[in-house]
């Protein structure tokens, strides 16, 4: 990805139509964002370095001894596709959760279902969250366990996941699919370009005082 330009318009947001890599299964329903990144690791002003704390309390004892967790297993260290169960990412809105997963190495998540805020946060990072039914997910998790070096291909555009000789249909929420495939998931520049329409909406709202617009800035 090329960097932002001086005008604040981000150039060349990549399309995320297709993600492929080895998998890591993280089993269980209702895995909340406090489990994905415990709050004590959020005492930071950047997201850098969060990767090593992903699932920390699930991975380590009080004495920092490793516990049984797929993120601790040598065979899954190169994984980029995480396979999860139902209501993954529920609870706190902390973007620290997907940021930690991305920094650990995750590029796409396949699961039964996702909490809304979590899925939205993933989209903002260009990470697809694709869903399939419980049996399909269980089969995929078992396959990943048996084939830790096997490639999983997540076709976001075509809404399929392929592993081994198997291709299964998956779902991607339509707005998210389009945003990923067309490379319009970083919405800042896109929304800024609607400046006039934003001002017009603000003027139409009885409670917004347009006389205050832009006020408060120190150099105004």
């Amino acid at each position: 990805m090329s960097g932002p330009t001086a005008t604040g318009e981000t150039a060349d947001i990549p399309s995320v139509g297709y993600v492929a890599g080895t998998g890591v299964p993280v089993r269980g329903n209702d895995v909340d964002t406090d489990q994905i990144i415990p709050a004590r690791f959020m005492k930071v002003v950047t997201f850098d370095g969060l990767g090593e704390f992903a699932f920390f309390d699930r991975r380590f004892t009080d004495d920092d001894e490793p516990k049984d967790h797929p993120f601790n297993e040598a065979r899954f260290q190169e994984a980029t596709v995480m396979v999860v169960n139902a209501n993954f990412g529920c609870g706190s809105s902390r973007e620290h959760a997907p940021q930690a997963l991305v920094r650990w190495g995750i590029d796409a998540i396949v699961g039964e279902s996702f909490a809304e805020i979590f899925a939205g946060n993933c989209l903002a990072l260009g990470v697809p969250t694709v869903t399939a039914d419980a049996d399909t997910i269980a089969a995929l998790q078992d396959w990943v366990d048996a084939h830790p070096d096997g490639e999983i291909a997540v076709d976001v555009a075509g809404e399929t996941v392929t592993y081994g000789d198997t291709t299964v249909e998956v779902s991607v929420e339509e707005a998210r699919r389009q945003a990923l495939v067309e490379g319009i998931w970083d919405t800042t520049a896109l929304m800024r370009s609607n400046r006039d329409a934003i001002a017009e909406t603000a003027r139409s709202l009885p409670y917004v005082d347009e006389r205050d617009a832009g006020s408060g800035r120190a150099d105004d």
Binding site: P4, A6, T7, G8, T10, G28, N29, D30, D32, D34, Q35, P38, A39, R40, M42, K43, V44, V45, F47, D62, A86, N87, C90, S92, S93, R94, E95, H96, S113, I117, G120, N121, A175, Q178, A179, E182, I184, W185, D186, T187, T188, L190, M191, R192, N194, A197, I198, E200, T201, A202, L205, Y207, D212, A213, G214, S215, G216, R217, A218, D220
Partner: protein
């Protein structure tokens, strides 16, 4: 146009454009920020050389990491001090108003917005915190956002969203004695599941909801997210207006109130509004609720048996088994008599003045059990001051409670207020997730403020209805 819900109307009024991916770009009427989820967003803006678009519609406070005991600067925690300093630098540069502890207006972001009259009907309210759904109690469309979305809102005062379906949840009848808004929402989540609200916004209605004051309505909307719904709301009515008239926004400006009231009236759901789903709950059948597990959906009435995992739907059994092992509870038993080590009265769910009054009424002439560490953390500095003016602090202190400064505190254990080891906590907060209150072996039992008070004085989970109290004010 008729047949529209409040959600439809507020959505349409704030829709700027439909984006190429099909999401709508919505104008944001009020953007609340705090110290934990905003620093990275300001960093992203700086990287892109973008200024904050509407500092006048943005408001900051500190709540998540701020200490509730020694609040002198620099804070004892270096991390807390660093995050506070970062927020201060960011708001100064952007010209955003900050309610820090020196102002007397600091508090949990979802307590201070409504308290100052910043939260109003028909607004869109966003904040980098999932409990932003709280503000829906005023008939606002309010939802939590992630940090990249905070960046978008700072940069444009808009946010990209997909429109959801609307489920009307009608709670009928009168709530029984000792039964509160907290018990209503725990019942809703138990009934519809922790992911039952995914894809929905919840409209709460019915006699039991309409009879609640604003704090009770806030408790209900607050925990919409625990049911999977990103937003929940109650249609504004005279109760809403009565609250608003007394706030900073309108106390000295009745003309402004009169100017805006027609808009507030206009965004109420039409009588013939069409809903995607309607659920009815008999409010008179609800009893004080407690959780037995590690998700907010794992709740039971205080006299009701903890379910056997095999009696639950197949996809809930595994989670239930692990939860019961973690909590050390047995199916067939009730939660009554479950030993507690800590009583936490606080959080954006239940730390407003009526919550403290109701708990204090239980505590009067009683003492915190010697096995219990009990703390009261008021939701805001104003709540704290008002409680002190009524002498509630004396009631709590005399009973053996710690009386703290305002903040999120032990709800999420980001500051020093944490469970230790496998302590069990009777908590008026919103999440009983494993590790949530700062110790991964800690055990959280969610309940109403008066039930927390009852547990504090008996040392175990107790049916508050068995403890005679002085008059409890209606919420």
């Amino acid at each position: 146009m008729s047949e529209r819900t409040l959600y439809d109307k507020v959505w349409d009024a704030h829709r700027v454009r439909t984006l190429p991916n099909g999401q709508d770009q919505l104008f944001v009427g009020l953007h609340l920020i705090h110290e934990v989820t905003s620093p990275q967003a300001f960093g992203m803006l700086r990287e892109r050389d973008i200024e904050v678009a509407r500092p006048d519609l943005t408001h900051a406070t500190v709540d998540h990491i701020v200490p509730t005991d020694d609040r002198s600067r620099p804070y004892n925690s270096e991390a807390a001090e660093a995050m506070m300093a970062e927020l201060e630098a960011n708001v100064r540069e952007a010209g955003i108003e900050l309610d820090d502890p020196t102002t007397g207006d600091q508090g949990i972001v979802h307590v201070i917005g409504p308290e100052q009259g910043r939260t109003q009907p028909g607004m869109t309210v966003v904040c980098g915190d999932s409990h932003t759904s709280t503000h829906g109690a005023f008939g606002a469309l309010a939802f939590g956002i992630g940090t990249s979305q905070i960046r978008d809102v700072l940069a444009t005062q808009t946010v990209a969203m997909e429109k959801k379906a609307v489920r009307r949840i009608e709670v009928t009848g009168d709530l029984g004695e000792g039964v509160t808004a907290k018990d209503v929402i725990l019942t809703v989540i138990r009934r519809l599941g922790t992911d039952g609200g995914v894809g929905y916004v919840y409209e709460y209605a019915g006699d039991a909801v309409e009879a609640l004051g604003m704090p009770g309505r806030m408790s209900i909307c607050n925990m919409s997210i625990e049911g999977g719904a990103r937003a929940g709301y109650v249609n504004p009515d005279e109760t809403t207006y009565e609250w608003l008239r007394a706030t900073d926004a309108f106390a000295d400006d009745p003309e402004r109130f009169a100017e805006l009231q027609p808009y507030w009236e206009s965004i109420r759901s039409d009588p013939d509004a069409e809903y995607d789903d309607v659920v009815t709950i008999d409010g008179s059948a609800i009893e004080p609720m407690v959780t037995w597990g590690t998700t907010p959906g794992q709740g039971v009435g205080i006299t009701e048996a903890i379910p056997a995992p095999e009696d639950l739907p197949p996809d809930e059994q595994d989670v239930a088994r692990r939860a019961q092992a973690h909590m050390g509870v047995e199916p067939g038993e009730t939660m009554h008599g479950y030993d507690v080590d800590v009583a936490f009265l606080g959080s954006c769910t239940n730390a407003r003045l009526p919550d403290l009054r109701a708990a204090a009424a239980v505590v009067v002439d009683r003492e915190v059990d010697e096995s219990v560490r009990a703390l009261v953390v008021p939701g805001s500095q104003r709540v704290k001051a008002a409680a002190e003016a009524e002498g509630l602090d004396g009631t709590f202190r005399e009973a053996g409670f710690q009386w703290r400064g305002a903040g999120c505190s032990m709800c999420l254990g980001m500051n020093d207020d944490q469970l230790e080891g496998d302590e069990a906590c009777a908590s008026s907060s919103n999440r009983n997730f494993v590790g949530r209150q700062g110790s991964k072996d800690g055990r959280t039992v969610l309940m109403s403020p008066e039930m927390v008070a009852a547990a504090a004085v008996t040392g175990e989970v107790t049916d508050v209805r068995e403890l005679p109290t002085v008059e409890v004010e209606a919420r």
